[in-house]
């Protein structure tokens, strides 16, 4: 996979990468919009987007459905590290179904999640202007 396929620079945009390395239910998020934003999920961060989360029993808000709205804010690149999944006994089948509508392709619905290897994740990080870690 070419992790740098979406060129930046248009309209003075910077490439922003939000790095998620922590399990859910301990973190608060803020996103900068009108920028070229990607999300990276590695280490325990992959647990953020595991499907089937039911938080009723612990009395906390379930934030995971929020990820499905990202496409509406033109956040369409969610890079998920394969090795982090495998170490946790997880596969792409265990992840939320997160999609976006591609305006350049007759609004076709496409998957936002891109499973990448650890070395590809390195390349994703290397391609950014700003990296924010949670």
């Amino acid at each position: 996979m070419n992790t740098q396929e979406d060129s930046s620079g248009a309209n003075g945009q910077k490439r922003f990468l939000y790095v998620n390395r922590r399990a859910p239910y301990g973190t608060i998020y803020a996103l900068a919009f009108d920028q070229d934003v990607s999300l990276a999920f590695l280490d325990d961060g992959v647990y953020q987007i595991v499907k089937g989360q039911d938080t009723e029993g612990i009395g906390m808000k379930n934030f995971s459905p929020t990820y499905r709205a990202l496409g509406d804010f033109e956040v369409t690149k969610l890079f998920v590290e394969r090795e982090s999944l495998e170490e946790r006994g997880l596969s792409s089948d265990d992840l939320l179904d997160i999609t976006y509508e591609d305006e350049d392709d007759d609004w076709a619905e496409k998957p936002s999640i891109r499973i990448v290897s650890r070395s590809q994740m390195t390349e994703v990080m290397a391609a950014q202007d700003v990296i924010l870690s949670f």
Binding site: R22, A23, P24, Y25, G26, D43, D44, Y47, V50, K51, G52, Q53, D54, T55, E56, G57, I58, M60, N62, S64, E87, R88, G89, L90, D94
Partner: protein, 102 residues
């Protein structure tokens, strides 16, 4: 005298789960809560640590914390008993001492 150990941190992020198992005596109980429940999932390094104990510990995981994290019963290692909050209380009451591995 048996101890109830509780672990609330992810085994991938902290060494508390490993340290707990390294210090738990045969016949002790280990209750996984909060992010500690990730240690109860199949196909992980934590699962291998549990298997290495050959069942000499009583292992439990809190149902609400499993559900919150999308961990289904089929993903939980065999030999780990799922308990609710009432079961948590029973475990505390049923052991001489509780040790929280934070």
């Amino acid at each position: 005298m048996s101890i109830l150990h509780t672990v609330n941190k992810s085994p991938f992020e902290k060494s508390t789960f490993r340290s707990c198992l390294d210090h738990a005596k045969s016949g002790d109980a280990v209750l996984l809560i909060e992010d500690g429940v990730y240690a109860a999932t199949k196909g992980t390094a934590a699962a291998k640590l549990i298997a290495a104990r050959n069942g000499d510990l009583a292992l439990y995981a809190l149902a609400a914390d499993l559900a919150a994290r999308g961990i289904s019963e089929t993903s939980v290692i065999e030999g780990v008993s799922v308990v609710d909050y009432g079961g948590f209380v029973d475990l505390v009451a049923g052991h001489d001492v509780s040790q929280a591995w934070l």
